[in-house]
């Protein structure tokens, strides 16, 4: 049945719109991101200040545009680390199996049984606060989820006859894994990349909210939300607008992953 995949369409629209604003926000914002002004303190949303201003008189919309950059930067880095290392580990352990596979999968099981926010918290306990520590912690934490997906796909495909067929033709194992099998895992990998982004954004925002991630003066959505909480009575729009942007980013990615899942079926 040819049904419109609304999940995918809406997910992509949300993500692209936010991404465009974010990219612009790295070069130009309507107002200065850092300049404070006592006359513009805590203004409600208006045509001049779409999201209003914060307690120091900074334009929230500008800060959100710029702050999303940090969020995306952290997400892209962590997913890239997790995906690249995960594919290699998953493909090799899945194809060769054996003792190494057992050990790696046990470690994976343990890591995967912890929510990423919790694990990031634990990692930060060891590494200390800071953006790059958050990237490192989340990146390492995402390796198992990618490794597991790739591994199970490789195991599924390696018993199929087209792999035997390639073996009979004389293809080497590495060629079989990376040229014959991995292209088949494209859709599942895309799905996990979308889920990975979803989790990375959530984890980064949580870390920064707790004051353990991105440090001032760099704007970050999680940190802004933490600040905003203190002014929830005098300037509720601060928390609400910032929070909604976080929700939209996560929603975009989760809709994409859901859409891909539907597509896969």
């Amino acid at each position: 049945m040819k049904k419109r995949n609304y999940y995918l369409i809406i997910g992509i629209i949300i993500t692209v719109v936010i991404l465009v604003f974010t990219i612009i926000g790295q070069f130009w914002t309507p107002y200065s991101v850092t300049a404070t002004s006592s006359s513009l303190k805590s203004l409600a949303p208006s045509a001049q200040h779409l999201f209003g201003t914060d307690n120091l008189g900074r334009d929230i919309f500008s800060r959100v545009m710029n702050g999303c950059g940090t969020t995306f930067f952290v997400a892209v880095c962590t997913v890239a680390i997790g995906c690249a290392v995960g594919i290699v580990i998953g493909a090799l352990t899945g194809f060769y199996g054996g003792m190494l596979d057992e050990v790696v999968m046990r470690i994976n099981d343990i890591v995967l049984s912890f929510p990423s926010v919790l694990l990031a918290l634990i990692f930060i306990s060891f590494l200390g606060k800071g953006t790059y520590n958050v990237i490192l912690a989340l990146g390492v934490l995402f390796i198992p989820s990618f490794a597991r997906i790739v591994r199970s796909e490789v195991i599924r495909y390696k018993s199929q006859e087209f792999v035997k067929s390639a073996q009979v033709m004389g293809a080497s194992n590495l060629r079989i894994i990376f040229v014959h099998i991995i292209p088949n895992t494209k859709v599942s990998l895309l799905t996990s990349v979308a889920i990975g982004f979803n989790n990375a954004v959530l984890a980064e925002a949580s870390m920064s909210y707790l004051g353990l991630g991105v440090q001032p003066p760099v704007p970050s959505l999680g940190r802004m939300l933490a600040e905003a909480q203190g002014y929830i009575v005098s300037a509720p729009w601060y928390a609400i607008t910032t929070g909604i942007v976080i929700v939209l980013i996560i929603l975009g990615f989760s809709l994409i992953s859901e859409g891909l899942r539907v597509y896969q079926d």
């Binding site: 929510p115 926010v117 949580s206 909210y209 353990l212 939300l225 909480q229 929070g243 989760s254």
Partner: protein, 314 residues
């Protein structure tokens, strides 16, 4: 029985590995605890003295064994920050409220999501299902701390149903504490409800088209009977594992939500200890939290085996 012993031994090994890792990790952090406590401008003699006091001058393996022996009995040494309290006392005062909140969220999640999941599956691709689907897709995207802030704003400030920040510890007044925890629990539970509903629905629908379901209909079962007697038990098997993940997620959610509602629980303890480099406390908190997750997983493995005869007899 063999299965049980196998799982039990792997549980013990996992716990040991975690203890070793967390001990090792805190031992290699540059600038040890003595320095952290005294600051960089302390005299070398003073640092040396403090090291001796904490036993930091001994070799690593010896320190690990001594620490492990203490840890098993619940003794994690003294806090650097609160010089009058031991780590165990600190944790004992903070753990109950986190546990209460986690249990409350769990009850809310299970109570709400199982009926919703079944309704969604029964009326799949019909209006009730669509409403539940869209609802869960959106709630899943709301981070619990933002949800917490929204709840404080709506129920605390606009509707005045509770006072954010008026936290009472369970040791002081248990029921007052439970009453205060209702809103934080909902904040933790809501995104997870969405996850469980979605998972249960998909798990049920995955079963609906299986051959044995057709057999069940061919015997003359009604749709309700087929769901109740045949599909539900099969669909529950994957959900059991998923619920373990949710239990761990609840724990993570509670740690963050404590900051929003000003609850003095484990999450608050962990975050403040990380910020003040109070390593013995961080170490103990990490061990407690990870142990809980590992033990939940162990329990779920056992449950899983009871639910699925294919695992039981193989």
């Amino acid at each position: 029985m063999r299965y049980f012993l196998k799982k039990l031994s792997s549980l013990i090994i996992t716990l040991l590995v975690i203890s070793l890792l967390s001990f090792a990790a805190f031992s290699v952090i540059p600038g040890d605890a003595a320095l952290a406590k005294l600051g960089t401008d302390a005299t070398p003699e003073a640092v040396e003295q403090l090291r001796e006091k904490y036993g930091l001058d001994k070799p690593l393996p010896e320190r690990y064994l001594k620490w492990l022996a203490g840890a098993v009995q619940g003794d994690f040494g003294a806090s650097y920050r609160y010089s009058t309290k031991t780590v165990s006392e600190l944790i004992a005062s903070r753990l109950p409220v986190t546990v209460i909140m986690a249990v409350m969220s769990f009850i809310i999640i299970i109570g709400v999501s199982i009926p919703l999941g079944i309704i969604a599956a029964k009326y799949s691709h019909k209006p009730p299902d669509t409403v539940i689907n869209v609802g869960s897709q959106v709630t899943m995207a709301i981070p619990s701390f933002f949800l917490g802030i929204i709840i404080t704003y709506i129920f605390g400030i606009i509707l005045n149903l509770f006072k954010a920040g008026d936290y009472i510890s369970p040791q002081k007044d248990f029921w007052a504490c439970v009453r205060y925890l209702i809103f934080p629990s909902i904040a933790v539970a809501l995104p997870k409800i969405a996850m469980v509903v979605k998972y249960l629905r998909n798990s049920l629908l995955a079963e609906v088209n299986k051959d044995y379901v057709r057999t069940a209909y061919s015997k003359g079962n009604t749709k309700d009977q087929v769901f109740k007697k045949h599909i539900f038990r099969n669909a529950l098997i994957p959900v059991i594992t998923f619920v373990a993940m949710v239990a761990a997620e609840i724990l993570a959610g509670s740690l963050v939500i404590e900051q929003v509602f000003g609850i003095k629980g484990m999450g608050n303890l962990l975050v403040t200890s990380i910020s003040s480099r109070d390593y013995p406390v961080v170490q103990a908190a990490v061990i407690y939290i990870t142990s809980v997750v590992v033990i939940i997983n162990f329990a779920v493995d056992i449950l899983y085996q009871l639910a699925d005869p294919r695992v039981r007899y193989s």
